[in-house]
Symmetry: C2
Subunit: 150 residues, 2 copies
DNA sequence: CGCAATCAGGACCAAGGCCGTCCTGATTGC
DNA sequence: GCAATCAGGACGGCCTTGGTCCTGATTGCG
């Protein structure tokens, strides 16, 4: 099924919400949680991962919070996935664990996933968060919460 | 980590091995298992999935077996993944389960993963199993088993 | 200077999916 | 009729993931 982590999905939501913030202002975790409808501890976890990945910058202390390190149009989706899930690679054979593959000797595809990996990386690098934006986000968050877009 | 299923990895190995078979001949599951070094029940499972996906054709009964439905150069890696893991889609929101996302109403990215999904599908459709082939496979399987290519 | 708010980092547990195996039945050649 | 082989599904163990919580560090305010 090629499933993407749920955390990455949340990360896109949170980053998009952060993109709706005025320049220079910061948003704290609980505010972002209520704005997005995601549980607060989860939002906090996502924000920490994004901060350590350099996608957002944090301001500690009272009245602290987070802000985007770059505009949404400068954040390829590949960076988000890499920040949440680690390096983008399709198979377990390439993650540096030599010897972790028990059929290593006879595995004829050893290292042959590289072109596939790079193709995926390239595809994910060409799409930015701005490309995933939606015009409806110009509305205040409360309006979106009140009227489901089903 | 964007992890691909191990079964898909095995599928590529098995299909590549099948590609080394003379035209018209069939290979049974146990022979493919010894040639690839993968456990036989697992190979059988992979072959069944590939057969139902139309990538290999099966011959039942005594002296039966499997053969490729198309040459390796006509099998994009996307087909292999689709046969093993189902439709290629990154997020859980797009698999037709409306209502499965508990924050559906306020999820601003709803359906916005589509461009990402199609980009990945396109990337995976442009790489065939022949592109993942390795010259060393021209050697007999026993030679590869005897001399690890580490 | 003390306090409250906020982020940083990790530990922890439950749930679900995946992997590998096995069993039974259907089909085919000898 | 028998043996070989594929078809399809059931099942249990292991690992990853998701979500929560706790403790400590940092910063602004009164």
């Amino acid at each position: 099924m090629f499933r993407l982590s749920k955390l990455s999905d949340y990360a896109v939501v949170v980053l998009s919400e952060l993109g709706r913030t005025a320049d220079g202002a910061v948003r704290n975790a609980s505010g972002l949680a209520t704005a997005t409808g995601i549980a607060e501890p989860t939002v906090a976890k996502v924000l920490k991962l994004l901060a350590s990945g350099g996608l957002v910058t944090s301001q500690r202390g009272a009245y602290g919070g987070y802000r985007l390190a770059r505009p949404l149009s400068a954040i390829p989706i590949a960076d988000v996935i890499a920040a949440i899930e680690g390096p983008i690679a399709l198979t377990a054979c390439v993650d540096g664990h030599v010897g972790s593959c028990e059929v290593e000797c006879s595995c004829p595809v050893r290292g042959r996933w590289d072109p596939v990996n790079s193709a995926i990386r390239r595809a994910l690098s060409e799409i930015t968060l701005a490309d995933m934006a939606c015009p409806a986000w110009a509305l205040p968050a409360t309006a979106r919460l009140a009227e489901p877009v089903v």
